[in-house]
Symmetry: C2
Subunit: 315 residues, 2 copies
């Protein structure tokens, strides 16, 4: 079966023609052009979809979008980073323009579906997928069911408060794991600590304070840079506490971690696994594994495609 997977990002639309057995067959992309308004975004999505559909029979289209999604109606209710996407009728518009059914899914949930269909969660009934990027996105499958909750808002695992009155989070709360362990938060903490560690390697690697990203912090961490160690340890403690809590809540077989920050590899995963172990009750020992996603750059497209492949089966 062929579907189109569209990863709708703030700056770029990445899309692929995806075979349910073979994965991505063909890829394309186009600037999102958010600044030109919703009509233009619809035009651009239509453009990439029709390009991929040329000469082949496509079953349906899946779109992974940031924000809160009304799955039934294919509407982006709101997207914190794109205020103009309020009640943005993606599904219906793309369906009219392409003539095939369209499934719209939150990008973090789409990532989880992609792991379920094409990745490390293939065949599993119980897993958690996390994306560590600007924020922390999440998707959960428990007892074989993709969890979305009463209003389709679950799971927002990135907004688990792990430190009461901790760092301010974009959501309005304090101490969410996202406010401590996301790529953005790690970069912020590193910038905040520069005055105390003026000779930190992080600064050399980034070039300037403003340019510091989480990858510079992890690269410095690998070289035992004191600032990087403080920041990474703070993030890993919070993330491990959160993952321990997820394990106790959902009893998953795997926790699969993707997103830009997961590229840190062993520097992230080795200490993270050790610290999670500290938080997990004896009765849950050896019930789970923590693994790095292998979908990498294709995670967005494969996730969106999986939203189409699972289609109506996901509530």
């Amino acid at each position: 079966m062929l579907v189109v997977g569209i990863d709708l990002g703030g700056t770029e639309i990445k899309a692929g023609l995806v075979d349910s057995e073979k994965g991505i067959i063909k890829k394309t992309s186009h600037p999102t052009e958010v600044e030109k308004g919703n009509k233009k975004v619809i035009e651009n999505i239509t453009l990439v979809a029709l390009e991929l559909m040329k000469g082949v029979k496509v079953q349906s289209i899946g779109i992974g979008s940031p924000g809160s999604i009304d799955r039934g109606k294919g509407i982006v209710r709101f997207s914190p980073n794109f205020p103009e996407w309020h009640d943005f009728e993606l599904g219906e518009n793309i369906k009219q323009n392409t003539g095939v059914e369209v499934f719209v899914e939150n990008d973090a949930n789409a990532f989880a579906l992609g792991e379920w269909y094409f990745g490390k969660a293939k065949g599993l009934t119980d897993f958690i997928a996390l994306t560590l990027g600007t924020g922390i996105g999440s998707g959960v499958v428990c007892n074989g069911l993709f969890l979305t909750g009463k209003n389709g808002l679950a799971p927002e695992l990135g907004h688990m408060v792990v430190i009461p009155n901790g760092p301010q989070c974009g959501c309005g709360n304090r101490g969410c794991v996202e406010a401590i362990a996301s790529a953005k938060s790690i970069a912020r903490e590193a910038r905040n600590l520069l005055e105390r560690y003026p000779n930190s390697l992080v600064l050399n690697l980034a070039g300037s304070k403003e340019k510091i990203e989480s990858k510079h912090v992890f690269d410095a961490y690998k070289q035992n840079d004191p600032l990087a160690k403080v920041v990474v340890n703070f993030a890993i403690d919070a993330l491990a506490q959160a993952i321990g809590n997820y394990i106790h809540a959902f009893n998953p077989e795997k926790i699969i971690i993707g997103g830009g920050m997961s590229k840190a590899g062993d520097a992230l995963f080795i200490p993270l696994k050790q610290t999670v172990n500290k938080f997990v009750m004896t009765s849950f020992a050896n019930t789970y594994s923590i693994e790095q996603s292998l979908l990498v750059e294709d995670a967005g497209i494969l996730g969106a495609a999986s939203a189409a492949l699972y289609g109506g089966r996901v509530i």
Copy 2:
């Protein structure tokens, strides 16, 4: 349909003949006699079951037991408070002695099933049930499914760590919500603070330091006792943080709270609701309500009966 519900406690076996429409028809009880060994416990359970089955046709028996349960086999794998119940073959033994099918369920999960069948969760697809007692027990229904996870261990929401390096919990961790906001933890905190508040009303109400229970603390709290305020506020902050986290994880329609401590009523529920509100993201506002269980003393029997009524439908 008639079933027998058996609430297996450490000191007492409470049991009832339960009609699926009318609820409890007849009740009985018997000492558990844990100290006389597993064989005696089986004998006592059989005794109450046969008493209730006399002259009526019973479909099946549900047993709610503390500890970790193997649902498929009806075995109590282990129960922290009753070490001798290791791989305790409850289901098969009671089936042989009574001639009807037996469903064994963890008592906190049974409480959730009881709320689903007979209580405030009737007809709901998304809710969380919490019991505030010696520990904090939990059961979750999400997207219409009773969640148990890969190994049937979920959900252990009482062991969500809410304060890193917080008070020691019986599970080995520190800062679990159970270690702060359970009845036992509240009594412990009150005892710990007595030296600083030697004239606390809590001491008058309890009679002596050793006799302090959470109900004395809540009674003193209602009268603005300074010690009680410190202890209750600490517990409510932790519990509210945990409930906020549960709401973001599961997007439930209701959070139903039972167990001995829920009898504190408004003294618990009014400040709890206000504090949970602080932790909940805007997008989840007005999606949930927090309610006191009405099953009260019958919650254990009705929960166990519901485990039988749901029977094979619960994974």
